[in-house]
């Protein structure tokens, strides 16, 4: 099995607020991330696909195709957007790294036909990231 990773970057804004909590509780739990008008990050996304290289092409999957999937599913949906208000898949969820990574996994998993989605790593900053990966037996 070979792993192949493609990286993209997008910029988006978000805020953390749970309407079930009081303003004071929101402030206590989420700190600055609760500021009412939101704030933004440069996100870095690493998508790893696992598979065997095709004997003819030598590729696990066509990177061009992966690039197109990432453009369609992630960039067009999230780049230069306010994640809370403009990304339907995040509706009703706090747009944390964990939740965004999970949504990206759910968007990409059915679209990758050659090889198998192995890991989604989403960096919110250089020091904070979430990993969503296939757990269990090797692909």
């Amino acid at each position: 099995m070979v792993l192949i990773t493609r990286k993209i970057e997008f910029s988006a804004s978000h805020l953390y607020n749970n309407p079930a909590l009081s303003p004071e509780e929101n402030r206590r739990v989420f700190g600055k991330c609760n500021n009412p008008h939101g704030h933004g990050h440069n996100y870095t996304l690493e998508v790893t696909v696992a598979g065997e290289p095709d004997p003819v092409t030598g590729m696990v999957l066509d990177l061009k195709e992966l690039k197109e999937i990432l453009e369609r599913e992630v960039m067009q949906r999230m780049d230069h957007r306010f994640l809370n208000y403009e990304v339907a898949e995040l509706k009703g969820q706090i747009p944390t790294c964990e939740n965004i990574a999970r949504v990206i996994w759910e968007l990409l998993e059915p679209k990758i036909k050659q090889g198998r989605l192995h890991r989604v790593r989403l960096y919110e900053s250089a020091d904070l990231f979430a990993d969503c990966y296939r757990n269990g037996a090797a692909v």
Partner: protein, 165 residues
């Protein structure tokens, strides 16, 4: 602005609706910290000549320092009320208390009890940090990765753990 306010009411479901766990998929939170510390690789169990041969410059008598980067990964259920595996402020406070306050701007050999009789290689540092952080009460520590310089890094995931997925 109006759109933002209207859409905000959609969030009213939040805290009650929770996304079902994905089958066969695991989510981890990764966090990086930095500390600077000195060490000397040297053991009483070897002669001076053997120490010099084994550890080279790292055995120089007064030690030397590195800017270490510590990366930790924790797993657990994503709390639907916060969207988080672990509250970041709580995790940071714990790591500061257990590791950064103890190691940062210190001599690993002189100031950390665990390295009085154990060579403070980055392998051993990984194990020591893992032991110190495995007690984090809000999430499961999966692994630690320590970068000693930008050219070398070490990982430890406990006795039965899984290194980088």
């Amino acid at each position: 602005m109006k759109m933002a306010i209207d859409n905000r009411s959609d969030l009213a479901e939040l805290g009650r609706s929770s996304a079902a766990p994905l089958r066969g998929v695991k989510i981890e939170l990764g966090r990086r910290y930095r500390f600077a510390a000195s060490h000397r690789l040297h053991t009483e169990k070897l002669s001076e000549e053997e120490n010099a041969r084994m550890f080279g410059k790292c055995a120089n008598p007064h030690g030397h320092g590195h800017n270490y980067m510590l990366e930790i990964s924790v797993s657990g259920d994503v709390d639907p009320a916060t969207g988080m595996i672990a509250n970041l402020a709580e995790l940071d406070t714990f790591v500061e208390r257990e590791v950064l306050d103890v190691f940062d701007h210190h001599s690993l050999n002189e100031d950390v009890e665990a390295f009085r009789n154990v060579v403070p290689t980055t392998e051993n540092l990984c194990i020591e940090i893992f032991q110190r952080l495995r007690g984090f009460p809000k999430a499961k520590l999966e692994r630690v990765r320590v970068q000693e310089t930008t050219n070398n890094s070490f990982e430890y995931a406990g006795e039965n753990g899984r290194v980088q997925p």
